[in-house]
Subunit: 444 residues, 2 copies
Amino acid sequence: MDLTNLHWASATDAAKLIRDGVITSEQLVRACLRRVDEVEGDVQAWTFLDPEYALAQARAADELRLSGQPIGALHGVPVGLKDIIDTSDMPTENGSVLHAGRTPSRDATVAATLRAAGAIVMGKTVTTEFATRTAGKTRNPHHPGHTPGGSSSGSAAAVAAGMVPLALGSQTTGSTIRPASYCGVYGLKPTFGLIPRQGMFQLSRSLDHVGLFARSIDDVALLLEALAGFDERDPDSRPRARVPYSSIAAEDPPLPPMFGFVKTGRWEQVDADAKDALAELCERLGEQVEEIEMVSTSDDISAWHDAISGPEIATSLRREWETGRDGLSPALRTRIERGLAVRASDYVQALGRIPQLNASFTELFEQRYDAILTPTASGTAPAGLQSTGDPAFCALWTLCGMPSLSVPLMRGANGLPLGVQLVGPRHGDARLLRTARWLVAKLS
Amino acid sequence: MDLTNLHWASATDAAKLIRDGVITSEQLVRACLRRVDEVEGDVQAWTFLDPEYALAQARAADELRLSGQPIGALHGVPVGLKDIIDTSDMPTENGSVLHAGRTPSRDATVAATLRAAGAIVMGKTVTTEFATRTAGKTRNPHHPGHTPGGSSSGSAAAVAAGMVPLALGSQTTGSTIRPASYCGVYGLKPTFGLIPRQGMFQLSRSLDHVGLFARSIDDVALLLEALAGFDERDPDSRPRARVPYSSIAAEDPPLPPMFGFVKTGRWEQVDADAKDALAELCERLGEQVEEIEMVSTSDDISAWHDAISGPEIATSLRREWETGRDGLSPALRTRIERGLAVRASDYVQALGRIPQLNASFTELFEQRYDAILTPTASGTAPAGLQSTGDPAFCALWTLCGMPSLSVPLMRGANGLPLGVQLVGPRHGDARLLRTARWLVAKLS
């Protein structure tokens, strides 16, 4: 067995190799740590990583396997966690100087679930300030002068750079899809409420989602299958029947899927090379894709998203705003001020749009389309590290709580990766992954 | 069989007599209609009542029973519906000139459920304007110069006056408990979300509850058992295991229940005779009651309730406000204006109080008390028909979504009835009814 490139192994393969005794978790984690040594100086994906502690977890996993006890689906596989996800054994600083040194005593539900599935918590990845827009230190692994996107900057970059096969982030507007697109990995924002958010920094209750990063569809499905579940402590979590995400994602669709191409009201802001890449992709899909028009304008969608996220963010950060205002970035201060000015009746009305929008999409999906195909962003990762890029192309799908996936299928004129966004109906996560696998096979 | 006083029969007895063929639904409905003829001129409980149509429903019920087909738990029993509950065969005017002549094409879920259980929809009962505070025409059946309370004025009065054994209302602050107390009947506001509100006028999504009126605990349980259920069209409805409310309510408690007496922060506003009546009641309970102190002040509770109900009411009535302002009462206009001024962050924060408050009560209930015992109102029904009385004594329990029951156990110095309010933990509705039955037996 050649262990040189073990850090590029998929989580699915690695878990099988560990289960079968071909490799140990320690070997895998060592390979990932070597990769961290190589590239972290350039990429800066981690805010906390203790190699000895990661290895100690790996050795414990190896001992457990040797003891003959049952092991989980992610046994021995390292995962990076965005630094807004509480961990009982590592700091969680939420990307803010105001939370520097914060050491929660409990695991977030997703962290506990990952550990129960046997995963190694490799470390905490860089987030923007409170998962909003003020950038952290992370650089795009494909070009250090470009942003990795945000807010889940470190998770996207760590997976893209081969430092871990899997990582978790979050999305309140475009914080998973955009960095996945910019970094050239798969990024899934599952259906709203599907993965419990208990123990994560709450930015906006109505819009926060857990986000998943991986380098293959199989790995996304594996991670989703481990994490989807009910937790009564998340008010938007509901008990549901267990879905076999991995096996559904691996199936062939019964018919070639139909895609509805949505340019969105911001099509004019899309870069010329991104337009070309999308046009070429649609051309290769031929009769399997049709352009569909949106009724709501992108200005409406932004206004509704702002009317919800603004006051919820202001409420979540009320204590920081009241007692530590100087420790907030000027951009976040402005956002909180705007959020505080929103009237409750506008907030309530905007929340009322969500079921209305979902009803209109449900019709589209039931009658004709397997997935919506739409830009992830205005183009490839912008140059510079100040801005993490524009999340507007993700706002509608986040607002609706529909599952969306960035699929790394395109490149810009500058050679940087560019994802295409696939969106499915609520709770159509498994079929969305199956459709994505068909698309990737079709185009490769 | 003496049919003279059939209109005073309980729903439980009447349903059994009809089921056993001792009486017909037509006889029961005729008795109720005769009672309407006698007292409606004074009481004015109905906004729509077509005697011929009620009798036609009764005859159809009698035919169905004779056909040998299975019949429901309320077969042949007449029920009054507050005129904010949509009915496909009667107008639903929401107590407003702006909705005069409104004839919905579909039954609300509760109306359809009642019909499926065999009930006769007797007619629509008077509501205040949009279930808020501006009074309708109804008078207190015990004294025509006094208010029946509101907003479910007609439902409480119709049951109290013997015109129907059962009626439905609603409660957003104190709209069921207060009129039940003033009219001397049982009024139950069940746990939030337990009975679906689909097809009822939505005043405040976070606070609206269906309310139940009856003249016995058995009847409340019978009605609750018919109506509790899941409807995905009500966003706050959840699937739950079926609870046998009637049989639990009929059981003896395993131990004498403990009551926690909560005076509330408005104790000073309680009339002297109501204080005396409560003191006597507590004295007779002896060691089974203890006074407990509330941490939250009544001003806080009112502020949180207003921060939620204000903007939700303003949003619900946005169209009426924008296009028919002159058709709204000055009081409601003022309330909408105040609601429109509420900031979204205060609204979100107030919503966040609900789980916190519930957590503190859960502890009390789990550790020591079977029910909270507390005033329903400041005293008996005030003189005059302009005001429907002060709902403040109900605000906390509505905010928390805890089940509360007005039990007609007391009288004021003026001879008018006065209820005592029992409150249980969320989803403790069945045990609350059992506790209430113990209390009534103990004191009679």
